[in-house]
Amino acid sequence: MFAGWTGAVALGLVGLLALLLAELIVGGWRTFDRFGLGFFLGRAWNPVRGREAFGALPFIFGTLVTSAVAVALAVPVAVGLALLLNEVRGFVRAPLASFVDVLAAIPSVVYGLWGLFVLKPFLDRHIEPFMTSTIGTVPVAGALFRGNPNGPDLFTAGVILAIMILPIVTAVTREVVAVVPRELREGALALGATRYESIRMAVLPYARSGIVGATMLGLGRALGETIAVSMIVGNVPRIGASLFEPGATIPSWIASSFREATSVGLHRSALMALAVVLVIVAFVLAALSRLLVRRTASLVSGETPGAAETEIPKVTR
């Protein structure tokens, strides 16, 4: 009975999702039909009738870059926080834990405002020039950190995203770290490992697949975040090496241009097509994360055969 209900609900949800996707595809069809693969690879975006050109590449680029910056900044901090909160004793734990939880409760438009009026000026004035003059001088990779520090940019958007995904990545990582078997930590400690060494030796390797999962969850959040990014990123379709120049992500672009998109011509259809691309990117990443988690998890699960083999009743007395 209950199974029947849940089954029906699950089916309904899948159906709804399929319907949604179908609607998007139908809506975007005229664009896909007209530009084909060129829609994915094109860089121009011109809704003026007669000169219409639509390409998603700058938005795919912006989405991936801001999300990558977010993950690169958030994951190390989240893992550190999770370890601090779970492994280290001390009076900072409780306040720190609730602080991270509070971060999750802040609406994203507030992040956007704060990012625009507090974080951006700070990064522009202090952090970005500093990065330009230090890691910016490295050959090749340094190009990422050169550019005009003023004005909206991909980096600032990435930092805001990092703060926004920090709670979820931290929470999931904490869960994962909490289930690392006691015996493994103690095994390391009994060999004369310091607390730090026991984390590196026993906790992190065991938790690795879970941390990958947490990262992917955060990445998924970052990909889809709209308002905060839209307020900060500049919404300029651009592809370039520098993180300190403006850009646009798929959600930010849709959010900032849907008002002008009428059903006359292709503009509205192109935005729908853009949404389809976002869904595809998210699906691809979800599938990839599945694979990654499974691969790293299989390294750990070799555990079972030995343990299962030998549970014989204890002979006592």
Binding site: E183, L184, G187, L191, T194, M201, A202, G302, G306, T310
Partner: protein
């Protein structure tokens, strides 16, 4: 010397006192067995002997554990150093699941010390031989340690403990989760190990204590009932309660 002397040791988990002024001595090149019913504090006692007890939240101790005369609980002693010199094998084999057999064997050496690959190989082989595992794994050193059978995993854990060249080896029911054949191997191994180590072993199994130990400590409810040479304990114990327990007339 490598003598471990527990003097008036009490231990708590939070407010719960589980060891009451325990006194016992583990002599070098001898096997000292700790026996007693489940929950009497055997694991707690052995974990106090290399400061693993304090890794449980809220756990604390009072009293002394003298290692060659030095109190391992004195404030200027680093528990990390204690554990390097006093190794431990646990009830459940706990090889590091992401590491190969070889990496597991040398895991402890990677801490603190810097060894060349060839030194590591020599020490790994030595430890695996000492643990009686070498012949079985020498062709599969790069296999995951977790792929081994339960008995092999436990011997891998013994090898891992031996590779850091400790002076004392503490074993908490090392064979209780193993089949009889693996148990026998572990017992033979302990015979070997006692030539060079001070061995302390917790066991649930009376016959095992009688077979392999030189000294036996019998505990009840966190207190020492009797401590003496194994042969005497198992033939004419001083205490009635010891006799009852050993002959199986006890709860």
């Amino acid at each position: 010397m490598r003598r471990v002397e527990v003097a008036d040791l009490s231990a708590w988990y939070g407010p719960k006192k589980v060891l009451h002024e325990v006194n016992v001595v583990a002599e070098p090149r001898k096997v000292t067995a700790i026996i007693g019913p489940s929950g009497c504090g055997k694991s707690t006692l052995i974990r106090c002997m290399n400061r693993m007890h304090e890794e449980v939240r809220g756990a604390r101790v009072r009293g002394k554990v003298l290692f060659d005369g030095m109190d391992i609980y004195s404030p200027d002693v680093d528990p990390v150093d204690v554990r390097r010199r006093i190794g431990m094998v646990f009830q459940r084999a706990n090889p590091f699941p992401t590491m190969s057999v070889f990496e597991n064997a040398v895991a402890g050496m990677q801490l603190g010390g810097r060894f060349s690959r060839s030194e590591l190989k020599v020490r790994a082989e030595g430890a695996l031989r000492a643990a009686g595992l070498w012949e079985e794994v020498k062709d599969g050193l790069d296999e995951p340690g977790a792929r081994l059978s339960g008995g092999q995993q436990q011997r891998l854990c013994i090898a891992r403990a031996l590779a850091v060249e400790p002076e004392v080896l503490l074993m908490d029911e090392p064979a209780s989760a193993l089949d009889p054949a693996s148990t026998l191997r572990i017992e033979e191994l302990i015979e070997e190990l006692k030539r060079s180590f001070t061995v302390v072993i917790v066991t649930h199994n009376m016959q095992q204590a009688a077979r392999i130990s030189d000294w036996t400590l019998f505990m009840l409810y966190g207190e020492v009932v009797e401590f003496g040479p194994t042969s005497k304990m198992f033939t004419r114990p001083d205490e009635k309660r010891t006799e009852d327990y050993i002959t199986g007339r006890f709860g």
